[in-house]
């Protein structure tokens, strides 16, 4: 290999230094880490068992015993939020994974082949974008029945064109670059070039987009489970907790406040992390902010 792809503009130490200076990255990282930790801890420990219904204790307000109070079945809301975090994160991660796993190869393929393949992919994108996402999610869960898996499929499908677009745009910009042309001249196949030269250089873009889609995924999951189409009881989920809270809000506002705050804080954290990552990884964008 005579001509090497240039090293990504930022060597690891370089962007680590940038990252430590970036406030939104740090805040975002901290919040995300906290929520993730809560979700992980819930696997081994929660203050109370969320599958245990103690109806006699229903709708207790906040106390030292129940930090966020109890719900209409007497379950501890703090514990439910911990377990709910696990559900939200799992659904969003897998949905984004599905979107990336299908969308990125498609986008790279379209960029590499061009012509008909490219055109067909763009039209396929148009088609999916023409369906209001939530509406289609409702239809999908109507067919397969409500549940976390189907929420993942519904959210995942709408991530495919997003990643396909980002990957295609990034790849198209790279193909005319000298080092790519050189690799082609050296007789490398398109697939190999994509793997060795294109993907590493669009990785940062995909990471940023992934973080944003992750936040959107959490919102979408909450919306679906609010409509009763996401994770099903006894598995607690934030959206479902809000649905249950709605009719009881006048008597017990705490039922609605804490799950909502959990969603806002998580999404906020992820968005900050995404913004921060973009600043750190992409110096061209940094100039604009």
């Amino acid at each position: 290999m005579s001509i090497e792809a240039p090293l990504p503009e930022n060597a690891p130490e370089h962007w680590l230094r940038l990252a430590l200076k970036n406030r939104s990255f740090l805040t975002g990282l901290l919040i995300t880490a906290l929520i993730a930790a809560m979700a992980l801890i819930s696997y081994v420990w929660t203050p109370y068992d969320v599958t245990d219904l103690i109806v006699a204790d229903r709708m207790k307000t906040m106390s030292s015993e129940h930090l966020f109070g109890t719900d209409h079945f007497g379950r501890d809301i703090f514990s439910m939020i911990m377990v709910g975090a696990r559900n939200s994160i799992a659904v969003a991660i897998v949905a984004v994974g599905v979107g990336m796993g299908i969308g990125v190869p498609l986008g790279c393929w379209a960029a590499a082949r061009g012509g008909f393949v490219d055109e067909a992919l763009m039209r396929f994108n148009d088609l999916i974008f023409a369906f209001p996402a939530l509406l289609s999610a409702v239809m999908i869960t109507a067919i397969f029945g409500p549940g976390a898996i189907n929420a993942i499929i519904a959210i995942g499908i709408f991530n495919v064109p997003v990643f396909a677009r980002v990957a295609r745009a990034g790849a198209l910009a790279l193909w005319p670059r000298e080092y790519v042309l050189a690799a082609r001249a050296a007789g490398k196949g398109k697939a190999l070039i994509t793997l060795q030269h294109i993907l590493p250089n669009i990785a940062s873009m995909l990471l940023v987009q992934g973080t944003i889609q992750f936040a959107l995924g959490i919102l979408a999951e909450a919306g679906l489970s609010y409509l009763g189409l996401g994770a099903q009881p006894p598995m607690p989920s934030w959206g479902r907790m809000l649905f249950d809270a709605q009719t009881r809000m006048m008597v017990a506002p705490h039922l609605a406040i804490f799950p909502g705050l959990a969603i806002v804080i998580t999404v906020l954290g992820l968005n900050l992390l995404g913004d921060g990552l973009r600043d750190v990884l992409d110096p061209r964008l940094r100039r604009e902010r």
């Binding site: 088609l127 974008f129 023409a130 919306g223 409509l227 709605q246 809000m249 906020l268 968005n271």
Partner: protein, 315 residues
């Protein structure tokens, strides 16, 4: 230019045809028998069979697709299984709730977002900018249905200023109708406004960095004039794109918001129709929504071409 318009139109039409096939196929595999649902637990088999014949459910698949798709072309969306009235009438009755809702929230969101975005851009990097951007960051993170719940709690339950839900219809005058759409519109608009404000700000920043703006400033043009007349006009392209995308988002958002506020709009209609297996209503409403998204995107594309001749050439 004509070629560009024709190409866009063609793509729009192809999308609609494909979408109709997808929608129809999806409805075909939906489990559950509408006839059984209509007649309930004690229905006898021959009553069910009679009803299925009456509803045309026993016809061959292709026949049903073409009669449905063909009917739509002439404005006939078929008859609802559950309401037994024409789908187009149902859509009309619901659209007079959903459309005003979407329009009010789009207006609200635009009226808030553009000035806020410009304000932040003009004061880039200062306290005002940072705090505005902080608030929009929060706005983007708030799920609209939760925001709606909080609004209900404060303005309907606590202050009793507006109704907590339901829709009195337009027969009693404009105001009672608008009054009951206020909270839902705010709930839909604010998260959208947060996104739009961020886009406006960065589009403005990009434009403000361009040479001609600097020239205009250097020539002594007042700052305000530069901002509103020159910069905004050029920053509008990305803003319009986002607004086009948001339209689709608002339409879908009505599904959740109409459920929170019990508004008899299109979103609730389609949601109910899915659970009641009123397939023909679902098909009709989804196609209508898809069509409106396609049309809005087409309009946005064409507006681009008008605003920016370079894009015309590229197509």
């Amino acid at each position: 230019m004509t070629a560009f318009i024709l190409k866009r139109l063609g793509i729009g039409l192809a999308t609609l045809v494909l979408a109709s096939i997808v929608v129809f196929a999806v409805m075909e595999i939906l489990p559950g028998d509408p006839a059984q649902l209509m007649l309930g637990l004690n229905a006898t088999d021959d009553a069910l069979q009679a009803l299925r014949n009456q509803m045309g459910l026993n016809d061959p698949v292709l026949w049903r697709y073409f009669s449905w798709a063909g009917g739509m072309l002439v404005g006939d969306f078929g008859n609802s299984y559950t309401y037994s009235s024409p789908v187009i009438e149902l859509i009309g009755e619901r659209a007079i709730v959903s459309l005003p809702l979407a329009v009010i929230s789009l207006l609200l969101s635009t009226l808030i977002a553009i000035p806020v975005g410009m304000f932040a851009a003009a004061r880039r990097g200062r306290m005002a900018d940072t705090s505005v951007m902080g608030v929009t960051q929060l706005g983007v993170a708030i799920p609209n249905f939760w925001f709606a719940l909080l609004l209900i709690y404060v303005f309907a339950v606590w202050l009793r200023l507006v109704p907590a839900g339901g829709f009195p219809g337009w027969s009693g005058g404009i105001w009672p109708g608008v009054r009951s759409l206020l909270l839902p519109a705010v709930a839909l608009a604010l998260p959208q406004a947060a996104i739009l404000a961020r886009v406006t700000r960065s589009a403005m920043l990009e434009v403000l960095g361009e040479d001609y703006i600097r020239t205009a400033r250097a020539k002594g043009m007042p700052r305000r004039v530069v901002l509103w007349r020159h910069a905004l006009r050029n920053a509008l392209i990305p803003v319009l794109t986002i607004m086009g995308l948001q339209f689709a988002f608002l339409l879908a958002g009505t599904i959740i918001i109409e459920n929170v506020f019990y508004l008899p709009g299109l979103g609730r209609l389609v949601f109910q129709a899915i659970t009641q297996r009123d397939l023909i209503v679902v098909e009709g409403v989804v196609m209508l929504l898809v069509a409106s998204v396609v049309i809005v995107n087409l309009a946005v594309d064409l507006t681009y071409a008008l605003v920016d001749p370079r894009l015309r050439a590229r197509a």
